[in-house]
Amino acid sequence: MTTRTTPATPAATATPPSTLPAGARTAQDPWSRRRRRGPHLQRTRGDLPFEIWNYVGFTIFALVCGYPFYYLIINSVSANDVSALGDVRLWPVGFHLSNYTQVLGLGGLASATLVSVARTVIGTVTTVLASAFLGFMFTQERMWKRALWYRLVIFTMYFNAGLIPVYVTMKSLGLTNSFWVYILPAIVQPFNIILVKTYVESLPQSLQEAAELDGAGAIRIFFSIIFPNITPILATVAIFTAVAQWNSFQDTLLYVTDQKLYPLQYVLYTYINQASSLAAAAQNAQSNLGALASAATSQTPTSIRLTVAVIVVLPILFVYPIFQRFFVKGIMLGAVKG
C-alpha cells in the first residue's frame, strides 16, 4: 500500500463539488474567468477552426454513445412488425406500450426481475455495512495483529487463485445454484474498505476519544459516532455496488444453472442467443393475449429482446445522471489511492 493519501476526503468530499470536473472550474480552473475577461489575449488564427472541429468532434462522439440507448427505447415502443424490420430509426413508429405489460407477464421475467432487485438491494446493504464496519475497525490500532489482517484483505485486490479454482471452491462450499453466491463473495470489498478507512482516518480524532472516555465500546462508537459521519463516502460505495450488482452476469454464468435464480442480465443474454426459447416465449405471450393481438402488438423475438434490454438499462439511465457526482467522486478517491 502506498501512503500517498494526502488530498481528498472530508474537506473535498463532505461538501461534494457539484458534478466534479465540470463543476470544479472555480478557483482552480485555468480557463473560465480569465477567458471571459480578455478573450482577445488568447485568440489566435487557428482558434475558430479549432473551436468548430472540437464541438463537431465531441457532438459526434456523444451521439455515438447516446444514440444506441435512444434506439433501444424508441424501438421498444414502436409497432412490433416495423421494429422487427429494423425500420425505426429516428422516432417511434406506431407508438404503443403493450410490450411492457406483455413481456413482464412472461413466466421467467417476473422472477428474473425479482432476483435482480433482490441481489441489488441485499448485496448493496451488506457490502456497504461491511465496508463501513471493516474500514472503521481497521483504524483501531489496538486490534490484535491488525496489520496482518488488513494486508490479508487488501492482498486479494491484486491476486486471486483463478477462475477454475474459485469455481471448484464455490461448488464444494455448496454455493452453486444458491442465491447467496450473489451476496456472500461480494461482501468484503478491499477497495471500498480502503476508501472508508482513509475517510475515517481523516475525521477529527477527538470524536472517538470523547466517546472512548465515556466508556463506549467499538460497536457503540461505530454506530453512534462513525457511521453518521461517513455517509458521504458510503453513498459513493453504495452507488458503485448497486450498479455492479445490477449489471453482474459472470457469477450467474459460472455458478448458477437453476433458471429460477437467473437475473435479468442473464435472461437477456439467453434471449439474444437462443432464438428457440424466444420463439417459445413469443408464442406463449401470443396465446395469453388470444385474439386481441395484432401485427403491431404481438410479440416478436426482436420486440421481446428490445423490451427486456430497456427494462435492464432503464434503472441505469435514471440513476446515473442523478448520481453522476458520486461516481466521479468514487473514481477520484480511487485514483488518490492508486
Binding site: M1, T2, T19, P21, A22, A24, R25, Q28, P30, W31, R34, L41, Q42, T44, N54, Y55, G57, F58, A62, L63, C65, P68, G86, R89, F133, M137, F138, Q140, M143, W144, R146, L152, V153, T156, Y158, F159, N160, A161, G162, L163, I164, P165, V166, Y167, V168, I187, V188, L213, G217, A218, F249, Q250, L253, Y269, I272, A309, I316, Q324, I331, A335
Partner: protein
C-alpha cells in the same frame, strides 16, 4: 492516542493493551476472505490430479505435472496456446496503444467553454461505462446483426444487396473488440484526467501566457505534461494487467465464427475448464496465469518505485 489508551486501560482496569475483542468483531469477515480468496489456493493441487468431480480429489488419479506438460506437448496444443496468447497480448497492447486517447479527450473537452455542452458530452460519453457487457452486446446485436439498423440502412441506401455479417465474422475481431472497449470506456477514462486538469496550478498558465504562449502551446506544454504522472501510473497498472482481459466482453461476443481470434486467456480458461469440463487443465492454466500476473505486478511496481519513488500498489 497512546496516552489516552493507557489512561483508558487504567480507568477500566484492563490489563492488555492489545484488543482481542476488536479482532473477534472482524473475524467473521476474515472467514469470508479466507473462504473465497485463500481457500481456492488449496485447490491448486487439483492441477496435479486427473480430477473427476464425481470421484472427488481423494479418489482421482495423481498425475504429477502431466497437465503442464500437455500444454506444451503436441504441436496442435502449442498452436492453440500460441493463438490464445497472441489474442491476449493483441487486445492488451491495443488497449495500451490507445491509452493516450482519454488524455487527448480530456485536454480537448477542457477547451470547450460552454458548460452545458461539456456536461452533456460528459454524461453521454460516460454512460456506456455503467452498462453491462451483455447490454453492450444487445446494442451491437440491434445495430449490426443482419437485420439490424446498419444493414437495413445500407440496404435502403442501395449500398449493399446482401446483409453484411458484422458479428458472425472472423474479420478484424481484435479491432472490433477494441472499438467496443473504447465506446464503453473512453469517456469514463477521461474523467480522471479532467479532474487532474482542474487541479493544475493556474500560475503555470499565467506565467506561460506572459511569456507569449498561445492556447495550443498551453495545451501542449502545460496541460499535457501535467497529466503525465497520472498517465504513467495507469500505464504501469495496465502492464501489470497484461493477462487480465476479463471474461465477460469476449464471452458475450464469442461465436462459432470468431472464436479463433476472440479467445483471450480468460475466455480460454473458461472454455477449457467449464464448457470443456476439464477442471484439472483449467486449474493448471488458472495457476500459471495467477503466478505470471503477480510477477508482472511486482515488476511494474518495481519500475514505478525506481522511476517515481512511489509504488503503485
Amino acid at each position: 492516542m497512546g496516552l489516552l489508551q493507557r489512561s483508558r486501560v487504567l480507568v477500566r482496569g484492563e490489563t492488555r493493551r492489545v484488543s482481542v475483542s476488536a479482532f473477534l468483531l472482524v473475524a467473521p469477515f476474515l472467514v469470508l476472505v479466507l473462504l473465497f480468496s485463500y481457500l481456492p489456493l488449496i485447490g491448486w493441487v487439483t492441477a496435479l490430479y486427473d480430477y473427476k468431480p464425481a470421484l472427488g480429489l481423494g479418489r482421482s488419479e495423481f498425475v504429477g505435472l502431466q497437465w503442464f506438460e500437455m500444454l506444451v506437448s503436441s504441436r496442435t496444443q502449442l498452436e492453440q496456446i500460441g493463438q490464445v496468447m497472441a489474442n491476449t497480448f493483441a487486445m492488451s497492447f491495443l488497449g495500451i496503444a490507445t491509452s493516450l486517447l482519454p488524455v487527448v479527450f480530456a485536454i480537448f473537452l477542457n477547451e470547450v467553454r460552454a458548460n452545458w455542452f461539456r456536461n452533456m458530452v460528459q454524461t453521454l460519453t460516460t454512460l456506456p461505462n455503467f452498462i453491462s457487457w451483455v447490454l453492450v452486446y444487445m446494442i451491437a446485436f440491434s445495430l449490426f446483426s443482419t437485420s439490424g439498423l446498419v444493414n437495413t440502412t445500407l440496404h435502403d441506401w442501395g449500398l449493399i444487396t446482401i446483409p453484411v455479417k458484422f458479428l458472425d465474422s472472423d474479420q478484424h475481431v481484435w479491432l472490433t473488440m477494441l472499438a467496443w472497449s473504447l465506446w464503453k470506456g473512453l469517456g469514463w477514462g477521461a474523467i480522471l484526467y479532467l479532474a487532474a486538469i482542474a487541479g493544475i496550478d493556474p500560475t503555470l498558465y499565467e506565467s506561460a501566457r506572459i511569456d507569449g504562449a498561445n492556447r495550443f502551446q498551453l495545451m501542449r506544454h502545460i496541460t499535457f505534461p501535467e497529466l503525465m504522472p497520472t498517465y504513467i501510473v495507469l500505464l504501469l497498472l495496465s502492464i501489470a494487467n497484461l493477462l487480465n482481459n476479463g471474461l465477460e466482453q469476449y464471452y458475450v461476443f464469442q461465436n462459432a465464427f470468431n472464436k479463433e481470434h476472440i479467445q483471450v486467456l480468460d475466455l480460454y480458461v473458461y472454455n477449457v475448464g467449464i464448457t470443456g469440463n476439464s477442471i484439472s487443465l483449467g486449474t493448471a492454466l488458472s495457476m500459471l496465469k495467477s503466478v505470471i500476473s503477480v510477477a508482472l505486478l511486482v515488476t511494474a511496481n518495481a519500475i514505478a518505485k525506481r522511476a517515481r519513488g512511489t509504488s503503485i500498489i
